[in-house]
Symmetry: C2
Subunit: 318 residues, 2 copies
């Protein structure tokens, strides 16, 4: 099969042996996959990953000896837990110390014609969700993770820093809480998308400080972190929702002086994200920048790396 | 009166006019005061403070037109709120946006023969608490602040990073929760003090990673911050309990990947600290390094700045 293989900082579409699933695993024929900023960070050396990239996908189960998965349209949770540790026992495979992570840590990913996923990680995708929407299940789950970690009340004043695709997805999820919501970013076209959803969206230079109860940092930059701190009221909460490669230089004094709570936030459960898409509670269509055929993977990755690009999709199989 | 005045990065014992208290303020004759690391940071330029240093003290009320404070032995909460904003209304003068802070922000401090304190900030000190112990009310309140912000359960595995005077005070407070407690530091003599209190105390090089539920960073260094992150289990809590002057360069990836909660923690309420001292629930005598007469303030500050020094006290009025 063909797969986009990362090695020594460069990717190439490569002929690879089709993987063979074990008894409790499924072989999934990938229909469509999405490029995440984390993929771009991996290409710069983040996590020291080598192998097939890709962790956002939807596909059809090709082989599976367990249950009645064969032929089903699925997504797959990306953290493969050991299944026996205390974290796995509590449904926290995301924090299993022995986990592999699809296309990120010791596990070949979904930028390939086929991918192996443990049956326990499969999530059935209802027919009402299109392939291009289903690819958003993974990043949308990461956005829902915020609601697993903090309680956002309808009365809360919330801001999102960063108008990238993840920031916009986070806005969609936060809108469900009924909170007062403001997005700050630097791309007028993206701010306009957010405004069309009925939230306040402002250029980052217009918002210098504030009295927000909670701020989600989704820009991944030290400047975004500093802005987020300026926007918070004393004893407010800052959710870090980005891949941070390399060191972050920051002024810790305001965290202490204003007694800020900073919460790191990573992967979420797929079920709430799938439900929200099936219920048409979130809008992802506007977040698709372009769909590339699989053979043009190099162009797709280059496009995704351009500043301001929204979601780039790869049409892998038919 | 005489006071230790900070100006352009240098301190001197200076003749100053005795301040005149307003209607809702008291003039307190300072008996004894303590040197805090924050004083040393202020001398290096932190907060850009200019004025009389000192925020840890005990004294006797000399003038006060309100209540029956005159002649009473008191400490004083160091955050002077406006009394009218939403934070003050909720008992959070510590976060009043218009506050001054004793010896730290727009308010002359207690390294002086007399100091002005709002009556609302006075706390009566029981006779059973000695002057040298009462000076610890302020830093002990800062240690108790942790318990106002996070719930520590008796089953929790907790570590404190940094065996300085604040780290040791924090250990005293955390011992009250019944938690499993480990101190890591680099001064064998201080670790020995901690061990005599019945907690685990180890050299920082012996503790490289762990599965702690909560870690309190009390070293104030980037290295201490990194150590604290290594000690935490996924989804653990890191309490930042230090004055951080200047930028902190840190690797934010583990915060996100392990979904760590980082909580900044500053000043606390004086009442719990005073109660703990009156009830003999905490031990502070072992934390006194030396007592200097007020005239030797320069020597006292120099001594406090030596690495490894515990609490240096100033005997101001006999």
């Amino acid at each position: 099969m063909q797969g986009i293989y990362l090695e020594n900082g460069t990717t190439q579409l490569k002929d690879l042996p089709t993987p063979a699933p074990k008894a409790d695993e499924a072989l999934v024929r990938v229909s469509m996959a999405g490029v995440c900023n984390t993929d771009l960070e991996l290409m710069k050396g983040y996590m020291g990953f080598e192998g097939v990239l890709g962790h956002e996908f939807v596909g059809v189960v090709d082989q599976c000896s367990k249950g009645d998965w064969r032929g089903k349209r699925v997504c797959g949770e990306i953290n493969f837990g050991c299944g026996t540790c205390g974290f796995c026992a509590r449904g926290l495979e995301r924090h299993c110390p022995n986990r592999t992570v699809l296309g990120i840590l010791n596990q070949n990913g979904a930028f390939a014609e086929s991918v192996v996923i443990p049956c326990a990680n499969l999530i059935s995708v209802p027919d009402t969700i299109s392939d291009s929407a289903a690819v958003f299940v993974e990043p949308l789950a990461a956005a829902f993770e915020i609601l697993e970690q903090v309680q956002i009340q309808p009365k809360d004043r919330v801001a999102v820093v960063g108008d990238g695709k993840l920031g916009l997805l986070i806005c969609q999820v936060l809108l469900l809480t009924g909170c007062e919501l403001t997005l700050t970013g630097k791309h007028e076209s993206k701010l306009a998308i957010a405004r069309s959803w009925g939230l306040e969206a402002r250029n980052k230079d217009e918002v210098t400080e504030g009295e927000f109860d909670l701020v989600v940092e989704a820009s991944g930059s030290a400047a975004g972190f500093a802005t987020a701190l300026e926007l918070l009221r004393p004893r407010g909460t800052l959710v870090l929702k980005s891949t941070y490669a390399g060191k972050l230089e920051l002024d810790a004094a305001p965290i202490v002086i204003n007694e800020i709570t900073v919460i790191g936030s990573r992967c979420g459960l797929f079920a709430p994200a799938t439900r929200a898409l099936a219920r048409n509670q979130v809008r992802v269509d506007e977040l698709v920048d372009a769909v590339f055929p699989f053979e043009q993977a190099a162009e797709a990755l280059a496009r995704a790396a351009l500043p301001g690009t929204l979601k780039v999709l790869l049409q892998v199989n038919g």
